[in-house]
Structure formats: C-alpha cells, structure tokens
C-alpha cells in the first residue's frame, strides 16, 4: 500500500515544479508573503460542468463555483457567519425591524462598462429572485416592496421583522443581474446566462463546452489592485482518479467541494505540494441524513425509527464510510451553526442493539424463526459512490437487528421521483445542506407545510406534527434573534425526539489547492471564494 504512494509522491514534486516553472508567467520578483500579480490558476469544475454561469438562474455547486468569481453580492460572510460589506458598503435596520436599507458602493461598473445601480437590485429582486429562484419566495416572504430612492440606495420594506434576509443577500444565494441585459427578456434562456456579465473580480472570456471555462482579470474591479491573477480556468474532469492525478501532476491547482475521493484524501494531506482545507464550508455545511417514510409501516411507528437510530453505530459509520472525516450526527441543526445548535439536552441515541431489539419487539416486529423481523428498502441519493457505501453500511446494521433491507440503486431523477413525487420509499440515505440558517435549511424537512409534491429536499418523510408546526411558525415571526434562536433549539429537541429524519453524520467537505496558490479566502462561505485575493507563488 505504501509503495505506490511514495513513488507517486516523489515523482509528483518534480513534475509540479517543472510544470509551474514552464507555465507561470510572473511579473516581477516575488517576496515571501507579498502577493504577486499575474499567473493563471487552473481550477476544477466540480462536481461537473456547470450548465449556466450565473447562480441567479441555477444554484448548483458547480454553477456557484464559477459564478462567485464573476458576481459580487450585496454582502458576504467572514468567519463565523460575520456579515461583511461587498457591493453594499453599509446597511441599517430600522427600529421596528421592518426596513432594511443598503448604501451601495459607488463607482462599481458591470463588466460591459455600464454602472451598477440600485435599479439592478430592484429588478433582480422582482424579476429574477421572486420569479425563478427555488428558495427566494420563502426567504423573502416578509418583503413587501423594494424601493430605490436613489441609484446608490436600496430599501427593503418588510411586513414583519425577519432575521433571515440580510444573510441571504450574499452573492451566491441572491446573485444580482444587470438590468440592462435582462430586462424584458426570458431570464432563463437569456444568452448572457452562458456568457455572464457581472461586477466581480473576474470577467467571462470563453467557454469551450466540455473542456474549459476561461475567466480573465477584471481590470476595472472596484477593489483597486485586485485581483492578482490574470486568469482562472475551470476544467472538467469526470473521473475521480483522474482528478487526483491532475492535482498530482500540477495540471490543476484548485478544487472545492471535495474534489478528490475520500480514498485519495490521505495522499493529498501527505503531499508536499498540496493543501487540504476544511474551512469555508460553514454556510454550505451539510449532513448525511436518513429520512424515514412516516406515512406507512414500519416507520410510521416512532419506536421503529428510534430502534434504527440505536442500531446504527454512528462512530463506526463515520470511521468506515468517511474514513473518519465526518462527525456523528446529533441534531438536525449542524454543530457548526453554533448560534442555533442546541448541544446538551438533545435526546441521544447511543449505539445499542439490545435497545433496538427491545424497541422493535415492543413495536410488534418480533424476530421470526429465520431471525428476521421485517423486510424494507433503502434508497440512496446517487451523489457518487460514498452514498452507496452509506447505504451498504446501513443495510448491514439493519441486518444485525433482524431487518432485511434491499438497496435500490437508481439515478438522481429516479430518486427524486420516488422520494419526493411518489413517496414510494421506506428509508433513504440522503443529504441536507444547512444553508446557513435553520429557517432555510431545516424548516423544509420538518414543517407540515413543506410536504410538497415533487420538490426535492422538501419534507419527503411526510412528517406532520402540530406541535412542531407551532414552534416553526413562531420562529418565523420571532420579534428578535434571541427568541428565534431559543425556538430553534426547542425545534431541534422535538425533531430529535420524533426523529422523522435521522442525522447520521455531519459531513465534512474540503478544498484541495496547490501550496503555491496563496491568499485563498477564509470566511464561512469561502468555498465559493471570489479569488480576488488569491495569488501564485513563484
């Protein structure tokens, strides 16, 4: 096992140095930690090629990765979800919490030279977010009207105070489009979706389908002197082994969203030329979850659900299936969302097969002579092989307590159809993004009003509890943030008690980059860093 590793490593170093020397055109001498202007970074388009290049239209990870270099948001996140200015230099909330006012940065121009104004924000809010965004109608439910008293001021008038709006106005969740290019057009088929015009540090140059997306330095960027890099090129590498080989050989220097397989992570961490970074995923943080179909037996019985929770050894689960990377789950709210996470006081499900057996007996599923209790199915989210492994682990755990599970393999469209349209499943292994705020991330899976036919990531379990609904609806109109946090802690406890969705583990994603690539962002959302501070070491 160690032989191939060392041999590859030794060779790789030489390769990378040679490649870097040949390919990097450096302007001027480099100093230890002073940013150097120039150079091209080849980044990985992952988990696949984007279909458009603006996250105003499509919000997949691969779109957001590229879009974040081209588009700024009104605000952005620093560490610990600290909100920082971007296109807005300043924001103020009125006393009653019903007015949110933004001062826009002066002198910002779109990549085509047109000035960026409050009209662009208002237009995008009305014609894009509220029309075609998957979540904006829920997020901005409290917004009554957006006003633009002058070109550099935007005012959100609210029906009631809402804690979720400000953070959602980051450039990924709420991407602003240029009004002059989108007004009176079909937003979704607008040609600028694939040759975007933004205000960000990099502007679109070319897109060779299936091969590369080339972004070049925006010389008129408002943050003078930035960015440092001349070009960012996104390449698509579908095969996992090939992706690692690309990092090894220096062909690719930057990849986010777990760009290499977990098996290769160890190689990357030991590498002399690669950095692995787990930060910047706080906003995106996701959990590996098991959803029960509570509409029908056997999982309509909470005892059966709890039995399953006791039957799966989460410590072994994360050790074996994620190579110890993930953390056993304790709550639907991720522990990284420190503000909302309930911590102590949450019902715990320790790994104990005896308890599981007992619960199953009580629920009326005794062991039959052949040692089985009942048969069920496991559907797993086809987001790569890891989820299949989760399912295979779960099946063996089920088997140990007498539950015979058949794993159903299907592709993504079939999975969505089965779980969210037909609700024809028993148990799924899936994932759930935290999306920064439980109101966006968690409500949708435990609120009865989120039982929506056809909608992926909605309340597929069919869990409906008046007690839960009351808590959720109270949180939506909480007069202040403390009250909202308190309510979400109660929600977690209840969710964990009823356990319609069982959080198996807190997933950990990571970024792989060349050690030569410096100045990468560090904020809670830096997985989608704009690279404006990034530079290449000589």
């Amino acid at each position: 096992m160690s032989n191939p590793r060392t041999s590859i490593l030794k060779l790789r170093r030489r390769t990378f140095l040679a490649g870097a020397a040949a390919s990097l055109v450096l302007a001027g001498r480099s100093f230890a930690d002073a940013p150097v202007r120039g150079g091209t970074v080849v980044a990985l388009a992952h988990p696949g090629e984007p279909n458009v290049l603006t996250s105003a239209v499509v919000q997949t990870g691969q779109v957001q990765s590229v879009s974040s270099k081209i588009f700024d948001g009104l605000i952005t996140f620093g560490d610990n979800f600290e909100i920082k200015p971007e296109l807005a230099t300043k924001w103020t909330t009125s006393e009653d919490g019903k007015e949110l006012r933004f001062d826009l940065r002066p002198g910002v121009r779109w990549h085509d030279g047109t000035p960026f104004t409050s009209a662009d924000v208002k237009f995008t809010f009305e014609s894009v977010w509220m029309k075609i965004h998957p979540r904006a109608r829920a997020t901005f439910a409290a917004v009554d009207v957006v006003e633009t008293p002058d070109p550099l001021t935007v005012v959100f008038k609210l029906r009631n105070p809402s804690g979720v709006i400000l953070g959602a106005l980051n450039g990924l969740e709420s991407t602003i489009l240029p009004k002059h290019l989108y007004e009176n057009t079909d937003i979704q088929t607008n040609p600028y979706n694939i040759k975007p015009v933004g205000t960000g540090p990099f502007r679109f140059k070319e897109w060779v389908r299936g091969d590369r997306i080339v972004l070049e330095r925006n010389p008129d960027y408002w943050d003078a002197g930035k960015p440092y890099l001349d070009q960012v090129i996104y390449r698509v590498i579908p095969d996992a082994t090939a992706r690692y080989a690309a990092f090894e050989s220096g062909a690719v220097q930057y990849g986010t969203l777990t760009p290499i397989s977990l098996s290769d992570l160890g190689l990357a961490q030991k590498s002399d030329t690669l950095d692995v970074d787990f930060h910047g995923y706080e906003w995106l943080a996701s959990a590996i979850v098991a959803d029960f179909n509570v509409r029908r037996p056997p999982f309509n019985d909470v005892r059966v659900r709890r039995a399953v929770a006791h039957a799966i050894d989460l410590k072994a689960f994360v050790r074996v299936t994620t190579r110890g990377l993930a953390k056993p789950g304790t709550s639907p709210v991720l522990s990284t969302q420190t503000k909302f996470y309930a911590g102590e006081g949450l019902p715990e499900y320790t790994f104990d097969r005896a308890v599981a057996d007992q619960l199953l007996d009580e629920a009326g599923y005794p062991k039959k002579p052949d040692g089985t209790r009942f048969a069920t199915t496991i559907d797993w989210l086809p987001f790569g092989e890891t989820f299949q492994r989760f399912a295979e682990f779960a099946r063996q755990a089920f088997k140990a307590v007498g539950i015979e599970a058949t794993i159903r393999n299907q592709d993504l469209p079939q999975f969505f159809r089965r779980v969210y349209s037909e609700n024809d499943f028993d148990f799924t292994i899936s994932h759930r993004a935290g999306l920064g705020d439980p109101q966006i991330g968690i409500d949708r899976v435990i609120w009865s009003k989120a039982i929506l036919k056809d909608i992926p990531w909605s309340n597929g379990s069919g869990y409906s509890s008046p007690e839960m609904d009351k808590l959720i609806e109270a949180a939506h109109v909480a007069p202040n943030e403390d009250k909202r946090v308190e309510l979400y802690k109660q929600i977690q406890v209840l969710a964990q008690r009823d356990i319609p969705t069982f959080t198996l583990a807190e997933n950990k994603q990571f970024t792989v980059s060349s050690k030569k690539l410096r100045g990468l962002g560090t904020g809670s959302i830096s997985v989608y860093d704009s690279l404006k501070d990034a530079w290449l070491e000589a």
Binding site: M1, P4, R5, I8, A240, T241, Y244, A245, S261, L262, S263, D264, G266, L267, V320, T321, R323, P382, G384, E385, Q388, R389, A391, E392, F393, R395, Q396, K399, T406, I407, R408, N409, Q410, D411, P413, Q414
Partner: protein, 298 residues
C-alpha cells in the same frame, strides 16, 4: 467441392446431423483446439468456484468483517485484503463469480433467443416481415450499444435483472443477422420446402430443420456475447450502475475504483477475475469457431 458433397447428403436425414456434431465434439475432445481446452478449463473452474461459493465463504460477502484498506497478505484471515468498507475481497470475488457469470449467461440467453427468433422469422418468411424486422435490427445496430444500455438501466433502475435485461436487449442484433443469413441459405434447400409441402407447417419446418442448422454459428457468437456481457457489466459498474444487493466483479470495481491510487488491489483483483473470465469465453468462442470451420472442410 466438399461443401457441395455435404449439401448433397443433407436431404437424407437432417435431424440427426446436430446430435452428430455433438457426438463428434465429445468423441474428439482430444482433437479440440488448444484454445477450447483452455477456455473450457477456465469456465469449469469458474463454475466450480461459483457453485462452491457458499461452502468456501458461508458468510454474507457484504459483511464488514475487518479493518478497511487491508492490503492482500496483510492479514492471513483476508488473503486478498479488505475493501473500502472492510469487506473480505476474497469472499467478494468468490461470490461475485456467481453474479458475473449469471449476468454473462442470462444476458446472452436473452440476446440469443431474441436474435435467433427475429433472424429465423425474418429469413424464413422474407418479404415485408423480413423488411420490418431488419429495420428493427438496424435500429438496434445503429444506436451505440453501451449508450443504449446506460439509457435502459437509467430508466429501469440498476437492479440485477434490469442490468441483465439491458445488456441482453442491446446485443441481439448480431445474432439476428447471423441467424437470418443462415436461414436464407437453408430456406432454399429442398428438404425444408418438402417439409412444408408435406404439411409440416412453417413452425415445424423452422424448429426441426432451420433452427438446428442455423444454431452452430449462433453458438459461437453466443460465447463472444457472454464475454462482452461480462465486460459491459463492468462498464456499467464503472458508471455506478450496479446492484448493491448482489456482489459482482463489476460492482466490486464500481465500489473501489475511486481508491485506485491508494489501494489498486481492490480494483485489480476483481478486474483480473473479469479479464480471466472474458478470456475464457473468448477462447471458447475461438475454439468452437475453429471446430465449425474445420467441420465444414472435412
């Protein structure tokens, strides 16, 4: 020439010709081409392994029995090492032989039955039936088979029977063409015509006269199809289309291929099993083909 003289002899009694071939094959085991010997040996070995799987490894091959990522030889308990989840690779390979062979045989059976039926009917009846069936055959020939299989598995879901069905349904066109060509040649022979005139009916004529004679080349192509089916199963697994409820060599590769750099043995061991199996079936096909050609010459 010799073939003429053989044809001349056909009308007397055709139905005993096939048993004759079978007899001849068994009688002349020693005269088999080397390739057939090796191929059959490989196949027999694999069949034996498949049959003995439960005896050799009575435990569920999916059971997480050890530490993940143990290299072959690291622990005498797991001579071929353990996989990403800590499953015994040796047990997987042994149990996997069942499913891989099953996929190979079953998909081939489907392709052969569909292909032969279409080929026979098309060649025997001719006219618009032939025309329509040949357009259909062309359709299946024109779509890239693997893409077609991917589409079918996507639609039906990746469980074992669907994978078999998809492979079978996308690979029959070659058989249909072969069977049709043989049938066209046979149809014109007197004994087939006589059989129909004598009131035997078309079905009877097809089954008793045409089918047995069209069969030998179909059997040769079947062994090639089996080899291809095993490879296709692995290819589908590479794209994540395998059934997690049945361990097969393809599914083992699918499960381990992202660890190829760290633990190449996880992929290479089932890969080697596939290579050996495919070589076995190809050798059998080669050997049978040689016998068939030789049979025509003697």
């Amino acid at each position: 020439m010799t073939t003429d003289s053989e044809r001349d002899e056909l009308p007397t009694d055709i139905s005993i010709r096939v048993p004759n071939i079978v007899l001849r094959i068994f009688r002349s085991w020693r005269k088999f081409p080397l390739s057939l010997h090796i191929g059959l040996l490989i196949l027999l070995f694999q069949l034996a392994v498949a049959l003995l799987a439960n005896t050799l490894y009575p435990q569920d091959p999916f059971e997480l029995v050890g530490m993940p990522f143990m290299a072959p030889g690291e622990d005498p308990l797991f001579p071929l090492g353990t996989d990403i989840l800590g499953r015994d690779i040796a047990a997987g390979v042994v149990h996997g032989s069942r499913v891989s062979l099953l996929v190979g045989f079953a998909a081939t059976l489907i392709a052969t039955i569909v292909g032969t039926t279409i080929g026979l009917v098309s060649g025997y009846f001719g006219g618009w039936v032939d025309h329509a069936l040949m357009r259909l055959t062309e359709l299946f020939q024109v779509i890239p088979h693997f893409l077609f299989a991917i589409i079918l598995v996507s639609i039906m879901g990746a469980d074992l029977s669907n994978i078999i069905l998809a492979i079978g349904l996308t690979s029959w066109s070659m058989v249909a063409r072969l069977a049709r060509a043989e049938t066209l040649a046979l149809r014109e022979l007197d004994f087939v015509k006589i059989s129909v005139v004598m009131g035997g009916g078309h079905l009877r004529a097809i089954l008793t006269h045409v089918l047995p004679n069209a069969l030998p080349p179909v059997i040769v192509s079947a062994s090639i199809l089996t080899a291809l089916a095993v490879l296709t199963e692995a290819g589908l697994a590479f794209f994540g289309m395998s059934d997690s409820n049945h361990v097969s060599w393809g599914s083992m590769i699918g499960a381990s291929r992202d660890a190829l750099l760290t633990a190449p043995y996880m992929t290479l061991i089932p890969g080697a099993a596939i290579v050996v199996a495919v070589m076995g079936f190809s050798l059998i096909g080669d050997g049978l083909g040689q016998i068939l050609r030789r049979g025509h010459r003697i």
